[in-house]
């Protein structure tokens, strides 16, 4: 039993809770940004398209860690506000992965056959009804694989919040090291296992969503 170093788990799990909460919050926010930006980029109105495109290109073209540092250190100085590490983390993660997600949204909506839009027009649905009832339900199914990959990337990205001293599971692992340097290897093994377990759980969630989205259809 000693070889397994189970005593390392409780402190790690405390930080793991934070990691999971951070992941969940950021996924939800990233989804919202992805939908908004993806739809905005397909809009005919230039005042929607260009800001959305700028947002996507800036957040995709710069590094997540730089964004995290900027939001946590530079933004409060600029706006003279206080930002908790958690808030900064959720902002950085959701803005970054929301930008990548917007591409998934855009390409999925474009992939819905044109005939579906035409049938909806023929039935005199308004543009928002078309989007809500016909296009998005079909596009959603196509978005799931891309979203599945992105949420794993997001989970991995949460490890960076250690560098802004947010007490996630990586932070706890590094703390444990200071108490007992000799268990370094065991600590990191457990750390990796915990992340892998979370990744597997997320993948499972997406598989379930994919199955539900395909209900009744071939």
């Amino acid at each position: 039993m000693d070889g397994l170093h189970l005593e390392l788990l409780p402190p790690l799990l405390k930080g793991f809770k934070t990691t999971l909460m951070l992941t969940a919050l950021s996924i939800v926010a990233a989804l919202a940004f992805a939908m908004l930006a993806g739809l905005a980029r397909m809009s005919r109105r230039v005042w929607l398209r260009w800001p959305a495109a700028a947002y996507v290109e800036v957040f995709r073209g710069t590094s997540l860690l730089v964004q995290l540092f900027w939001i946590y250190f530079a933004l409060p100085m600029l706006l003279d506000i206080q930002l908790s590490a958690m808030t900064a983390a959720v902002l950085a993660l959701s803005l970054n992965y929301g930008a990548y997600g917007s591409e998934v949204v855009r390409s999925s909506i474009s992939a819905v056959p044109k005939g579906q839009t035409e049938a909806a027009i023929a039935l005199n649905m308004t543009p928002s009804q078309r989007l809500r009832l016909i296009i998005l339900p079909q596009a959603w199914r196509m978005m799931l694989p891309g979203f599945g990959n992105l949420q794993i990337e997001l989970l991995k990205g949460t490890s960076l919040v250690y560098l802004i001293t947010l007490a996630d599971v990586t932070y706890q692992a590094m703390m444990l090291r200071t108490y007992d340097l000799s268990s370094t290897a065991a600590i990191f093994v457990w750390l990796l296992v915990l992340y892998f377990a979370a990744a597997c759980a997320l993948t499972l969630l997406v598989r379930l969503a994919e199955r539900r989205a395909a209900a009744g259809r071939s």
Binding site: P113, G115, Q116, E118, A119, I121, A122, L123, N124, M125, T126, P127, Q129, L133, I134, P137, Q138, R141, G216, R217, S218
Partner: protein, 278 residues
Amino acid sequence: MNQNNPINLNKTPIVRYRHITKAFGERTVLNKLDLDIFPREKLALIGPSGSGKTTIARLLMTLEKPSSGTIEVDGEMLWHMPAKGKLVPASEKHLHRVRGKIGMVFQHFNLFPHMTIMRNVSEALVHVRGLDKEEAKRRAAEMLERVGLSEHVGHYPSQLSGGQKQRVAIARALVMEPKIMLFDEVTSALDPELVGEVLEVIKGIASQGDTAMILITHEMDFARDVADRVLFTDGGSIVEQGTPEEIFERPQSPRLQAFLSRFLKEEPNGRVAAGAEP
């Protein structure tokens, strides 16, 4: 050329195309087309592919915008609206109102794959007509009964044959009670043995009489059976029109004669239409 139909002289047209031109980039598909369609009229559109017949339908269904000209539906302009004494391009609200009088069935069905048959047919009744769910389901069930698909209400489109899918599509469009129904080559994508069931349904609708119908079709027999008037288009204009007897028995223009001879001898799926020479 006088476009007014000698058959329905005393009725006011329900659709009027006036000087309709439609160009796609360099290609002009329709050139200053004039066309009147009368209430409850069954109009067949025949002609070679690319002759503009589908575009005539799509302009009416607001799937394409005319490059110039006007279309009047039931007394109102479709693509234009009055504003301060002039005609300006129609707003989405105006389009939405007039579009409600037109329905369309597509060559490739375009059923909503993520909805059951019942929902496919009732969805627009709920969200566009504003009916409550129960009433919408009732009407949808009635319409599905009419097209012979009652036992499939809980199925999804992927579980149906092509002929069944097209009948659902007809039910979906018809349940909205349009004044004009467009049928765009609705049997061209079907296997030959499934064509008949769809044509039967359309004949049933035609005989019940209330809706004007524009039928774009290659099924000449069917056109002859159902249509009050047949239009032959070629190169973007109406070359000849008349009753089915006039068009099929006594074609006047050389282009129509050439088209019919090519067509009636051997149809795309290898069948020979009745009345053609052996």
